[in-house]
Symmetry: D2
Subunit: 326 residues, 4 copies
């Protein structure tokens, strides 16, 4: 399980259930599904240590919106998704926020598939400086919002967590929202799924390395993480296609055949290493992505930015936001 990389709690759950037994829910996990006119909303809640272990993710709520064709630019779908995203963010954040909201755009703006966070930041209605400069002219319905794209370790030489903590210590926001590009396991979730979580985010992923996480523990304020899978790890994809062949063998030769047992006996780690062997001659991280990734990033960052804009400012419409931003 550890070997197939996904940032979606939804997929961690699918993998767990696929491996063990399809019917029952993962222990320590509560799930609620809702279909909103073709958009599937799944709310996965990890409620215990057992659930944390099973899914490899910390306790908390993980909501996904699965929107087939999201990246294709239908304007009606776009408006609905902005509204749904705004609604789900508001569900996760209880009370109205008194202090500023700080939005962090994670990722490397020079690597297209990783540029979602920095691109989203640039489309936000940022107001904190206006509340300081012209407080009398600011409408009550507006929230104080500020933003930061801290860059990535390879360019800054500083852990993202350190930069964010330095800024949080100084400006003392009441809430942090972190935006990031994610990796999915399933190709059809790429660029079509939005995950919102109240557990923060770990640049580098996994439960370990928590010192660098952006979370309530490290920052002292609630942290909402919002992301879209923009790539599928190439090794993961290869792994999954091998699984299909194993399934075909099972159908033909039967689950009792020696060959099927041999294939199944190959544990996850062996399988992963077999496949890595094909891919590793290449130096650099291999990902499966779509050729249209450049234009898809523009669209997805607009969806995230406006979902956040509508969530944090009161009674503001998409049209008003687009007027404001010009």
């Amino acid at each position: 399980m550890v070997y197939s990389r996904t940032d979606l709690a939804l997929e961690s759950r699918e993998m767990y259930r696929h491996n063990i037994e399809e019917k029952s829910e993962v222990p320590g996990v509560e799930v609620n599904e809702e279909d909103s006119d073709g958009i599937l909303i799944t709310r996965v809640k990890i409620v215990s240590k057992e659930g944390e272990q099973a899914l490899g993710k910390p306790c908390g709520s993980y909501i996904t919106l699965e929107v087939p064709g999201l990246h294709q630019g239908d304007p009606h779908k776009y408006q609905r998704v902005c509204q749904l995203l705004s609604d789900e963010i508001r569900r996760l954040v209880d009370a109205p926020q008194k202090g500023s909201i700080l939005v962090i755009g994670l990722g490397n703006r020079n690597v297209t598939a990783d540029s979602l966070g920095p691109k989203t930041i640039e489309k936000l209605m940022v107001t904190r400086h206006l509340f300081e400069q012209i407080p009398d002219q600011m409408d009550d319905s507006l929230q104080s919002v500020c933003a930061l794209a801290p860059g990535v370790l390879g360019i800054t030489g500083i852990e993202t967590g350190e930069i964010v903590r330095g800024v949080v210590d100084r400006i003392k926001p009441s809430l942090v929202i972190a935006i990031d590009a994610l990796a999915a396991r399933r190709i059809d979730r790429m660029n079509t799924t939005i995950q919102i979580a109240d557990t923060g985010i770990n640049p580098g992923s996994g439960v370990g390395n928590s010192r660098q996480a952006l979370s309530r523990d490290t920052l002292g304020v609630p942290v909402i993480a919002i992301g879209v899978p923009t790539v599928v790890d190439a090794v993961t994809m290869a792994n999954d296609t091998v699984g299909l062949v194993v399934d075909a063998v099972k159908e033909q030769a039967g689950a009792d055949s020696a060959i099927f047992k041999m294939l199944c006996g190959m544990n996850e780690q062996d399988k992963y290493q077999l496949i890595s062997g094909v891919l590793t001659p290449y130096v650099g991280e291999l990902t499966v992505t779509t050729k249209q990734v450049d234009s898809v990033m523009d669209k997805m960052s607009k969806v995230l930015a406006n979902g956040v804009n509508m969530a944090v400012h009161d009674d503001i419409t998409l049209e008003e936001i687009e007027n404001y931003l010009g």
Copy 2:
């Protein structure tokens, strides 16, 4: 064979030999290999209809330079590759050229992995306008060179071949050099291999659709095609990993086992469709690429541009070119 997509004649040959019998050469094909201090130069020459059929590519010479680590930016390797590329281009073009040389940068500049052609064009020493404006000041060692990035069908609505023929009819070059991003089958050839061919190029690939090819037939002048594989087709990669499992089964269960026969009985088309099933929920072309593709394109376009610059102008050094271009 038709189902694994590669633009490299080298790989078409590998696949042919893998499927039939490893030892003998492909009929109608002549091959010559040379190791130049760690850089493998392979010259595949298709000399008959039989060779065309076997490799699915038109008669002519296909030279590959395989340069491990080419995309990583070692300056000494970079200088050697520019020189080797220049030498191989000069081998393919017999006599010195009297008229202009027209370099075509194929591909979509807004899709990073497809932007190699347009990016290369921008780094060329273009001189044709200077020969017209200030002929007295032009050095004899310089060649008249011009360039065009015609764009892609989805943006222009015009077949690339039509645009190029229109321009060729008007400026009547003595040679056309076409630069394009290619697809490889093997991951380790991505961003590390350069192919030079004297057969022209077919935007869209394959032997058919020859009306739109850029070739001596359609343009009336020799056409050299130069490309670097920047992606591996995701279906191809999945296909190849399945092959690994089949090999593992063969080793364990023996080539005579029923299950191995079943797996082998699955013909290429069935296998391809099985795998396509996993990938097709996603709308858009899926490719395996490296996260660093943006910076890799900058480096590779510089290598191609300077290889061409050194090939077409006489007695000019890399340093002089870099001075000239500033």
Copy 3:
């Protein structure tokens, strides 16, 4: 007059009248003005050789839309301007077009203030290839449209006019529309004014060098030129500010004073050279522009693209275009 650079017929007329006598119209020129709810539409028609000489531009119609704040992104203004632009294009093109319409995006995409043409091309509804590939599925209200961004002389080594003529000879369009970034004389016209002309366009400007013009004469089909001034020439701006001082002197010292006569005696050429002296130590073309030029180009190219989209396709709304383009 020759020394203040403007691409707007409107400004050539203003300068002529300023220099000679304010009241009367320029001989050989007919002018019609219309205020459409804050947008000033001026239609300058040069009808004779005398008019050509006076304004330094060829006979034909030049329409300007002056839209204060156009570059600031008010969505209602944006919609109105797209509609007005579409209406004025349709006024200039008499009959419905049977063949394809070819849209040329002039300028250098790597120089922000010059990228208006190439950026506009990318936002067009291009359909010519669809009429060839899937004619049965094409709606009657759609026009066959194709596009080309030919690049600039310094990068291609080929005169833009040659490239365009080569392509026009091959695809034989019924109409050419050329899009370009222009230079204005007055700062307040920068990024706020659209000029539409039926006289074609001359990459490099002026009446001379007509061999390279894109016009009915050189291409054999009607040519509509559409542009927005994105820069003001720095020398022009300096020149105009000096004029202000001269006016101040006149007011104080009187028009009969020796000093005023001296200043006025300084002819245009002397004045221009005096000012050029201050600016010429810098190698390269100096322009006055706005710091926001990058984002302004995105907005202006969208206005031009959609004005053209609405003009060439029948009964299509802005919303339908935005759905189509995604």
Copy 4:
């Protein structure tokens, strides 16, 4: 004086001396000039309150390298300037640094003429994370270096000074180097002059607003500021050309003439407002820049990054840096 905007201490001094008396040095200011084979090095040292008042800049050293043609890409000149820049930085920083050096890239990466800081950051040899991850493999000659591009107020809603102080508090560097695009008064200094100062930098300029300055006072560590003028303010340029006419009047009519007295009687503020009147109809900041600004920024950021790389790491050559960065 206040009305002509320049960030160069060199030009503040020129303006002061021009207005008062050419011969004597500005009180409280010490100047040293050196010609290094065509590159003019001027070291302006403001040593007292009187000097601060006269030049409108805080006490400290301001060194300029004036390099005609710097932006044109001659590789030999490029190497010399990197070395000179490195030498001057080392002159300003006394002792070897024990802690990390933090380099701040100021400015807006989406506004080409303002992108110098962020672009420079991306070309640095950043090592701080390597000293933490693989201390055993780090060479003694290397310095721990980290970097940050904090963005601009309009996008983040946070004063740049606040972000930097937050990060400085956390990582406690021993030295801060701030990189920024500047404004010059004279056109021929644009893109050809580098200023290095040990007084820090004030995003927003001027002596006031010191709360937001990046300086030893606010950050508690030495701050070196390095910048290149990339624009000339349009109002400044207009103002200067008017000065030329006044000079011409003086020559013709004599310094005693009534008209010359009238012109000179017009105080700086009146003149500035007269000129602003011509330019202000346009909303947005107007600057004079070169059309080639996009490619010039690439070259200048490379010069600054490598000057800094050579200054902070010991015994490292330009060639080694370029190998390292690839």
